[in-house]
Amino acid sequence: MASKRRGLPEINAGSMADIAFLLLIFFLVTTTMDQDTGIARKLPPMPEEELQEDDSQIHAKNIYTVLINSHNQLLVEGELMDISQLKDGAKKFINNNGIDPNSSENPEKAIISLQNDRGTEYMTYIRVQNELAAAYTDLRNNASLNEFGERYADLNKTQMKEIRKMYPQKISEAEPKNIGGDE
């Protein structure tokens, strides 16, 4: 279709779509949509000499020991346990509030002590970390539903702080040791 006016000839834009498609496909292929996700943890600072003292003040009953050996088996409070039971076990321990004299006094004092072998598989370790985190999430959710009628994740900052104070997540990892079994 020739224009009757003399002037700039019309640029054919028909191939524009093709060019754009080409670029689009390039970006579609190279794009990585995955958001990095993970379990956030804080490492304890390197121990200093004087720090040893306050360890003795924690009663043994307030500590929930979880050991993982090189065959990925769990020893919880001296007994063999399956990973699937760990969450309930931890919840029961944290929320004991002094009912069982051999378990924790209250959630604020409860400490979970985690120790793994050098031969433990990373997958098992993460799963244990995950189960323990899930126990705390459940307890915090219950508490916030009771207090504020909302789930923990929906609370505002000050409310969150309050709940966190009720259920501080205390997962301590002992200095690395070799528990039973070769690597």
Binding site: F21, L24, L28, D36, L43, P45, Y122, M123, N130, A134
Partner: protein
């Protein structure tokens, strides 16, 4: 223009494709903006373990990555299959981690240093020994905020 035309054949009107480039361009810009090019080439194969209690890692610019896993196929002839640590674009030994953290800190603003996170991207089959070593080094370097990289999933 009569509404009810009676004459002869009906022809399908041609669909205008004039707006097609616009649509495609819109998609193109969306992908251009969201795309993240991979910065490092992975020399180790990493399949992160699954977990449910995961958090999103914010502020990507403040995250340093440590990859741990067995070398990829084409590197196995020269490096074997034992799990190795990769920092930036090269294999590294455990004692290089402190240097790596120092270099990462140097590259950031001083104010941002307390918010820096180290993401441990380890393969699920790796043994804890190497990870414990890495964690000890991070403690020595005082890089205490860590993140175990995991996928979302249930057991």
């Amino acid at each position: 223009m009569s509404k009810f035309r009676k004459d002869g054949k009906k022809r399908m009107p041609a669909i205008s494709t004039a707006s097609l480039p616009d649509i495609v361009f819109m998609l193109l810009f969306f992908f251009m903006v969201t795309t993240v090019m991979r910065e490092t080439t992975l020399f180790v194969s990493v399949t992160t373990p699954q977990a449910t209690e995961i958090k999103k890692l914010k502020k990507k610019s403040l995250v340093s990555y440590i990859y741990i896993g067995s070398p990829v196929k084409r590197m196995q002839s020269s490096y074997g299959t034992a799990a190795r640590i990769q920092l930036n674009d090269a294999f590294a030994s455990v004692d290089e981690i402190q240097e790596f953290i120092a270099a990462e800190r140097e590259a950031r603003d001083e104010k941002e240093i307390p918010y820096m996170t180290t993401s441990i991207k380890a393969d699920e089959t790796v043994k804890m020994g190497i990870i414990t070593d890495v964690k000890q080094e991070l403690r020595k370097a005082n890089a205490l905020k860590i993140n175990y990289s995991t996928r979302k999933g249930t057991y």
